[in-house]
């Protein structure tokens, strides 16, 4: 019950941030606001590969064990790391906010939406159980959209994934050595193509959903050209 109330409060805070973004005096990352530029047109630029997307053992929000690679290859993937009890409005809530904006944009483009999967993968296998993620996902995921909320069964399963994505994370401890529940990390999202290659890395603080969608379109155009269709 406490966990539910906490997440409900967090969701309320996020909704507040969404509403407050751009309001005078509000101190939010640029990612919450409207972009100050027109993103370059899809297909007008290159997205050179940045390496191979790492595999690993994960659990979906139904508790089913999967290989991360099972979710990579058939679609274009936008992958971000979060933890659901992150209380910093410019931390994980922003990453989820931007993912939701991408989802909203894609709903307007059914053809592209069918080619895209969003993945939010938890930093915290202890508190972010599949049930907790299912609850969290209900606040953001459209019923018909392919947005996977994943966790891991253990730190042992999580660490190789974090290392593979060069995703630095550190649990914070108080002066007595007790875990505070907070996790320090840098905010990154990864764009992955159908060959399992990382094609862009975004800092969510400056992330613009329209720019991400144009990157997805760029990769879709590239796939079409490669297949000759």
């Amino acid at each position: 019950m406490i966990a539910f109330l906490y997440r409900a409060a967090l969701f309320a805070a996020l909704l507040y941030c969404m509403a407050a973004a751009g309001a005078p005096g509000t101190v939010l990352d640029p990612g919450y606001g409207a972009p100050q530029y027109e993103p370059p047109a899809p297909g007008s630029y290159q997205l050179p590969p940045l390496g191979i997307a790492t595999d690993g053992k994960v659990l979906n929000d139904l508790g089913e064990q999967l290989a991360l690679q099972d979710l990579i290859g058939d679609k274009l993937v936008l992958l971000g790391f979060i933890y659901t009890h992150c209380s910093d409005v410019n931390g994980c809530p922003l990453a989820t906010f931007v993912m939701k904006k991408v989802q909203d944009r894609l709903v307007e483009d059914a053809d592209l939406a069918q080619q895209v999967r969003l993945i939010s993968l938890s930093f915290d296998p202890v508190q972010d159980t599949p049930a907790a993620l299912l609850d969290y996902a209900g606040n953001f995921r459209r019923k018909d959209f392919d947005w996977q909320f994943l966790t891991t069964a253990s730190e042992a399963d999580l660490l190789p994934i974090l290392e593979g994505y060069d995703q630095w994370r550190q649990r914070e401890y108080d002066k007595d050595g007790n875990y505070t529940g907070n996790i320090s990390h840098i905010l990154r999202l990864f764009l992955i193509d159908r060959q399992g290659r990382i094609r862009n890395i975004y800092s969510s603080g400056f992330l613009d959903a329209d720019t991400v969608v144009n990157d997805l379109r760029t990769l879709a155009i590239e796939s079409q050209a490669a297949s000759g269709s």
Binding site: L28, P30, Q36, C86, W168, E172, H185
Partner: protein
């Protein structure tokens, strides 16, 4: 959470804090007292082990080691050590070299007091397709954007930007636009020289901006010989290029005559401009977006007496975008400009720091200002010997006056010629580290 807080500070409160000299906007900043300064130092013949090295100095007044060199890590040989900067997660320091084009990547997070060499990139020229002299290492999300100064065909000034992953794997090369190949960019003035030097970004405007210096032939030449060679003196950059950051597409080439060097962009969210200074013509230049959304260049201030060639080098913008430190290497002066009106930069303070002064870095709150002396091995002054020739000096700044608090004579300490400074702090890596 602390890391996140720092990220919040950099991204959300950009208008509220100083720039910790000139860091990438994607990077966490040290908001409190820095614990260390990492000084990328040129090896000097006859001085210590004569090798390039990363020197770590404890600069926290509360530390028992305050003012001491706590680590000196030599990398082998002299490579023309020059600039350095962190990855976006601030765990690694990339230190570049202009002669051998090697890039040394140091792990500075495992023990911030004792960096270790993590990786050396020795094939930069071959992998990049002939780019020589990696200079700036600017952190972008998950990758580094490196500027080159030269090329391996004629060792002149035509060069490129080169991207690497944070892991040190080559990604792609972007050659600078030239008259021969504008690459879709608009040539707005007389020049499209293809030269390179510094790079900075304004992500909220999708802007990347680059400046231009000179090639290997010149920067490895003795300064006196160079100054006496009229043909060589023509081979300096005269351009700033405005790029589409996301597409890596050059959009407009601006005339900024006289070798525009360091670039520093304003932090205020409505302040769409960057500053640079020209080494040969001694002016402050503004690169700004006009009312029509077009990027323009404008000379907005004079730096000393240009006829005496004071040679403006490093610059540093302050917290509220109201001040700009400008060092002039040849006369050893640091100069503070009022840039409240960015179109009218006015010098309001100056102080002689040493026989020569190159780099300037300031703390997050602007209360501490750090200086080093070395410019290039073959350009540096050799006399008069003493503590003002090759040094690290630290000053407190009260808004009106610099007061020296610490200095290290790098020749007397048998270290070499100090160049770029970058700050380190335990706080960046969590409480466990801080408690060591």
């Amino acid at each position: 959470m602390r890391w996140i807080f720092l990220l919040v500070a950099l991204a959300a409160n950009q208008w509220a804090f100083a720039d910790e000299t000139c860091m990438s906007p994607y990077m966490a900043k040290i908001t409190g007292q820095e614990d260390f300064v990492y000084v990328w130092t040129l090896g000097v013949e006859g001085v210590g082990d004569e090798q390039d090295k990363l020197v770590t100095v404890d600069v926290n007044p509360k530390s028992a080691n305050y003012g001491k060199v706590v680590s000196s890590l030599s990398v082998g040989g002299r490579n023309e050590a020059h600039h350095s900067d962190f990855t976006d997660d601030r765990r690694y320091l990339w230190a570049s070299t202009l002669d051998t084009s090697k890039i040394f990547i140091f792990d500075i997070h495992t023990d911030p007091a004792k960096p270790v060499l993590h990786k050396t990139i020795s094939d930069f020229v071959a992998r990049s397709g002939g780019v020589v002299g990696p200079h700036t290492s600017l952190a972008l999300p998950g990758r580094m954007m490196l500027t080159g100064l030269s090329n391996n065909r004629d060792h002149g000034g035509r060069t490129a930007l080169v991207e690497y992953t944070n892991a040190g794997d080559y990604i792609v090369t972007h050659w600078m636009p030239t008259d021969d190949n504008l690459q879709g960019a608009v040539k707005s003035g007389q020049y499209a020289d293809g030269y390179g030097y510094d790079v900075r970004v304004l992500p909220r405007k999708n802007l990347m901006v680059t400046s231009s210096f000179t090639g290997w032939n010149n920067y490895m030449m003795n300064l006196g010989v160079l100054m006496a060679d009229p043909e060589a003196m023509k081979a300096f950059g005269n351009t700033v290029v405005v790029w589409d950051l996301h597409a890596r597409q050059p959009e407009k080439i601006l005339d900024v005559p006289g070798a525009p060097l360091e670039l520093r962009c304003a932090w205020g969210e409505a302040r769409n401009y960057c500053f640079t200074t020209t080494a040969l013509t001694s002016k402050v230049w503004l690169i700004y977006e006009d009312a029509k959304g077009e990027w323009q260049s404008q000379a907005v201030g004079d730096i000393g007496d240009a006829a005496k060639i004071p040679l403006p080098v490093d610059i540093s913008i302050t917290a509220d975008d109201s001040r700009l430190w400008v060092n002039t290497w040849n006369d050893g002066m640091t100069r503070l400009y009022d840039i409240s009106d960015p179109h009218n930069a006015k010098q309001i303070y100056s102080k002689k720091i040493g026989e020569q002064v190159n780099m300037v870095s300031q703390s997050w709150d602007g209360k501490r200002v750090y200086y080093t002396s070395s410019l290039l091995a073959n350009w540096d002054k050799q006399e008069p010997a003493g503590p003002d020739l090759q040094y690290l000096k630290v000053y407190d700044f009260d808004g009106k006056e610099l007061k020296e608090t610490m200095s290290i004579d790098f020749l007397a300490a048998k270290l070499g010629a100090p160049h770029q400074m970058r700050f380190g702090a335990y706080a960046l890596y969590g409480d466990k580290t801080a408690s060591r």
